[in-house]
Symmetry: C2
Subunit: 106 residues, 2 copies
């Protein structure tokens, strides 16, 4: 099967809270899109399981969040890779669209 998801058309923004779209879920990986209005964030968190995730910036700017208040600049085309059990998060400076891929899926 080939499945196309137009992330820019299938998810929008919510002034109250970031908006999440499940792009794909299978035994191999899970793909999510998060849209943040400027100022919104996904607070730093982690899960105590094996695996890794990537966060890809599709549009907008902000910061990847890490432990000890780390803020790593995030711009279009940037990819952050993290272990799932490592604290990570993201904060939006402008309206921001990101794609998160988690393997294995959780």
């Amino acid at each position: 099967m080939l499945k196309k998801i137009e992330v820019f058309n299938e998810n929008d923004f919510d002034p109250k809270r970031f908006k999440r779209l499940i792009v794909h879920e299978s035994p191999y990986f899970k793909i999510l899109n998060f849209n943040f209005k400027a100022g919104q964030e996904l607070p730093i968190h982690s899960h105590d399981i094996d695996g890794q995730l990537s966060i890809t910036i599709l549009e907008g700017t902000g910061a990847f969040l890490g432990k000890d208040n780390a803020r790593i600049p995030a711009a279009p085309g940037d990819v952050l890779v993290s272990d799932i059990n490592e604290p990570h998060g993201i904060s939006a400076e402008t309206d921001l669209r990101v794609l998160v891929t988690i393997a294995p899926p959780i």
Copy 2:
């Protein structure tokens, strides 16, 4: 560990052939960036193994390629999901940057 890769800065274009950058490789997934000049393509292909891949359009336009000469329009923010053993490819109309994630890694 948190690892950031600035795909737009770490890979460029080659007028002779698409350029490939290994963004990340681990037991969980493999992430690659391909940059295509307008007119270049990754011809349709498949591998006879289990797993899935995603192709995310970071910049530019083109077409995802499928069997029977299928051409599925590809624009920024579009994500194509394919089984690894299903024929797939990509063709660039403009200069095109894509991110490919393969799980499990091959």
